[in-house]
């Protein structure tokens, strides 16, 4: 999705699940842009770009794998594209299940896969003129 993910978007997503009364556990991961200190200054924002068609295809495969491995009720992933400022949320991962262990473990694996397997790139904007390409650890 374009732009930062608002807290209201997250609460609406949660509220939509109140009718799903087989769900006992929601595990949510949020990525927030950090004001990291770099050699040339402090990160102001990160500009995300993606190879969208491939990212969607990869995500569909990951989703299928996780539904096979864990007993899950729901899975939603939103990753921001465009320029996201420090303190804003750029990743919202939302996994729900009957018992907590499935949602907790699947959410952990999913976040790992999003970082390692989706063709998305972050360009860290530093000060007014500088930038550096983000490196995932």
């Amino acid at each position: 999705m374009e732009g930062a993910i608002s807290p209201e978007f997250i609460s609406e997503a949660i509220a939509k699940h109140s009718t799903k009364t087989a769900i006992g556990a929601h595990q949510i991961f949020l990525g927030q842009i950090r004001a990291d200190e770099k050699e040339d200054g402090v990160v102001q924002s990160i500009e995300f770009t993606a190879y969208r068609e491939m990212a969607e295809k990869q995500y569909a495969e990951i989703r299928e794998e996780l539904f096979e491995s864990y007993s899950l009720s729901c899975m939603h992933v939103y990753h921001s594209l465009g320029n996201i400022g420090v303190g804003e949320i750029n990743l919202f991962v939302f996994v729900s299940s009957k018992h907590r262990k499935d949602a907790t473990e699947a959410c952990r694996v999913l976040v790992e896969k999003i970082k390692n397997e989706l063709p998305i790139w972050g360009k860290e904007i530093i000060g007014e003129e500088n930038y550096s390409w983000k490196v995932n650890r």
């Binding site: 770009t49 190879y51 491939m54 990743l91 970082k115 360009k123 390409w133 995932n136």
Partner: protein, 77 residues
């Protein structure tokens, strides 16, 4: 045969283009050699090549119909 190649991240940045064209290549290996000659700065990037949205590690034939892209290390999330 001229192949269109999508570029992303630091590669698009270095080439100042989201898309480049490479001519007279028929396999991924040939393509990569030409790309690295044309854009020496790419060699320091540990990038991968995808054909039709699948990452390829072995040499394979390509045609103008294939969707080719060069992908720097992912840094989403």
């Amino acid at each position: 045969m001229t192949i269109k190649v999508k570029l992303f991240g630091i590669l698009a940045d270095n080439a100042q283009a989201n898309k480049i064209e490479i001519s007279d290549v028929s396999t991924t290996e040939e393509l990569l050699q030409k790309v690295n000659r044309k854009y020496p700065s790419f060699e320091s990037v540990n990038y991968k090549i995808s054909v039709n949205q699948d990452i390829i590690s072995n040499d394979q034939k390509i045609s103008t119909d294939d969707e080719i892209a060069l992908l720097p290390p992912f840094s989403g999330g």
